[in-house]
């Protein structure tokens, strides 16, 4: 009966995807083929192979082994933002934080390296930059963030001189090169973004890791944080750690004392406020943020900066049949983190498998986020939260930040656990 429908669509789908790459239609075999997703069940297409998307692809396959899962991701390898600060500190190399997609192909996920350019929600299709059209029964979108390039003097071209390094890869390498080229005694200025942004502790872990590098190589240098906020994530724990490991090397200035940043001069590596101009030897300016570009092109933001979703299934409030997870989605109560994106992906995969298996309702999930930050190579701090899902968002049932004034052994154990978290979550996602 309807089985035939899925086989037929599978064939059509296959022809669409494989046709343009010149594969012969005769390669098609029941139950999947080398060029298509394995399985004969419903078709789930995932957009974006980062923390949210790659997890979703894996877990749809795990919760629904017969589901046909296609992952669309332009890059053939992905450099993680998590541990990119440790790379700046000289603690891990680039290879350690770079992952490929063969682990997902191995479990039967059809990985297509292409870019999604458009969505037809009524037809249930996405269009790729190659012109191919891919059909889905349900779509999961996890495109991450885009920057608001609206700061006077800071645009994409300026980011080649003054890196944001807030999407990992060439930007992170550029920032590291600049740190290495800086003379001892220089000032590194970090300008963290305003809320909401990905990884709330990220800029402060970055300050720590840059200080770690400077302490080892250029000990007369300084890190100055000019914030657009008056408080920040894990503030007490970072402040204690900075004192214990770096003395006065890191100075944090809250927004109320910085004033409003009015312009960035990328050539001069300076930031101006209405009161002052701050000149840096290395400048790391992190722009304000919004949902990834493709989310806007797909019409999933409803005209806003982020994508509104149902809080239980993460189905878009704008386009039915499409789920949005990760940094791009508005998931109330959760931070924009890689671990949260991983958790949301699992909740979403569970919901999608149930909905495509005949369920009409999905139970709210209990889910979690654990985020370790490295203050130093031997000093880690965590924040961890367990949430209960409700229609209004995620309510904390327990959690908190690493306690104050713990001894060095406690901090060192947590630095080790930070590495352990990275190894295990990357394995959970990319295999």
């Amino acid at each position: 009966m309807s089985n035939a429908k899925y086989n037929n669509t599978s064939r059509r789908d296959f022809l669409k995807i494989a046709g343009a790459t010149g594969a012969a239609a005769s390669a098609f075999a029941i139950g999947g083929c080398a060029m298509g997703p394995s399985g004969t069940g419903p078709r789930v297409v995932v957009v974006g192979g980062g923390f949210g998307g790659a997890t979703a692809a894996r877990y749809v396959k795990k919760f629904g082994p017969d589901f046909r899962v296609t992952l669309i991701e332009p890059q053939t390898s992905y450099v993680t933002c998590p541990f990119s600060n440790a790379y700046l500190g000289g603690i891990v190399d680039l290879n350690t934080i770079t992952h490929g997609y063969s682990g997902l192909s191995k479990i039967g996920v059809h990985v297509v390296h292409d870019m999604v350019t458009g969505l037809d929600g009524a037809a249930g299709t996405v269009t790729l930059s190659s012109g191919k059209v891919v059909e889905y029964d349900r779509l999961i979108v996890s495109p991450g963030i885009d920057f608001k390039w609206n700061m006077d003097g800071y645009d994409e071209a300026a980011s080649m001189l003054v890196p944001h390094a807030y999407k990992a890869g060439s930007q992170t390498v550029l920032l590291k090169k600049q740190l290495e080229a800086m003379d001892d005694g220089g000032t590194v200025i970090i300008a963290p973004p305003g809320n909401p942004f990905r990884c709330p502790p990220g800029p402060y872990e970055r300050a720590s890791m840059i200080a770690f590098y400077l302490k080892n190589h250029k000990p007369r240098s300084k890190v100055l944080i000019l914030d657009r906020k008056d408080k920040f994530s894990k503030q007490g724990a970072f402040t204690e750690g900075w004192k214990r490991r770096y003395g006065n090397m890191i100075e944090w200035v809250p927004a109320k004392d910085v004033g409003i940043i009015s312009s960035v001069d990328a050539g001069a590596r300076s930031i101006s406020t209405e009161m002052d101009t701050h000149k840096a030897d290395v400048l790391n300016f992190i722009p304000n943020q919004k949902a990834g570009k493709v989310a806007h092109a797909m019409g999933l933001t409803g005209g806003g900066d982020w994508c509104p979703v149902d809080q239980i299934t993460f189905e878009s409030s704008v386009v039915p049949g499409v789920h949005v997870i990760g940094d791009a989605a508005v998931i109330k109560g959760m931070p924009k983190s890689g671990n949260a994106a991983n958790s949301q992906a699992k909740v979403c995969a569970w919901a999608v498998v149930q909905l495509l298996s005949g369920a009409t309702e999905v139970e709210p999930a209990v889910t979690s986020n654990t985020c370790y930050s490295l203050v130093s190579d031997d000093y880690g701090i965590h924040v961890s939260v367990i949430w209960k899902g409700t229609a209004e968002g995620y309510k904390k049932t327990s959690g908190g930040v690493a306690p104050a004034n713990m001894d060095d052994a406690f901090r060192k154990a947590e630095a080790g656990y930070a590495h352990g978290w990275y190894a295990n979550i990357s394995h959970d996602i990319w295999g």
């Binding site: 309807s2 979690s368 904390k396 656990y417 352990g420 295990n424």
Partner: protein, 107 residues
């Protein structure tokens, strides 16, 4: 479109083998059953696949269900010390702790 999809999906629900379907003898998908898998999927980001951890975080794949429930209940009550687990365990109900332990350690 959502409605149409659901109707289609309802018609073919019985064709797909999910762990939930397999676990409940091919009846309707059981939220309970998948829920254990979903709950435990949060543990693997630190403790590794099936509790087999790579690196510094302790593996938990050697524990049987009783030991796992016991450890989690002790973290929950505060009787057992740790770096992070005393903050995590109280977030789960006793029934959820049972479900997690069943999923990772088996029954």
């Amino acid at each position: 479109m959502k409605k149409a999809l659901l109707t289609t999906a309802l018609g073919v629900a019985v064709l797909f083998t999910t762990p939930a379907l397999a676990g409940s003898g091919g009846a309707t998908p059981s939220a309970e059953n998948l829920n254990g898998a979903l709950l435990a999927s949060g543990c693997v980001v630190c403790h590794g696949q099936g509790g087999d951890s790579q690196g510094h975080i302790p593996s938990i794949d050697g524990l049987n269900k009783f030991q796992m429930v016991n450890a989690l209940m002790e973290f929950k009550s505060g009787a057992r010390k740790g770096t992070i687990m005393p903050r995590i365990a109280p977030g789960y109900t006793d029934a959820q702790i049972e479900a997690i332990a069943s999923e990772i350690a088996g029954n």
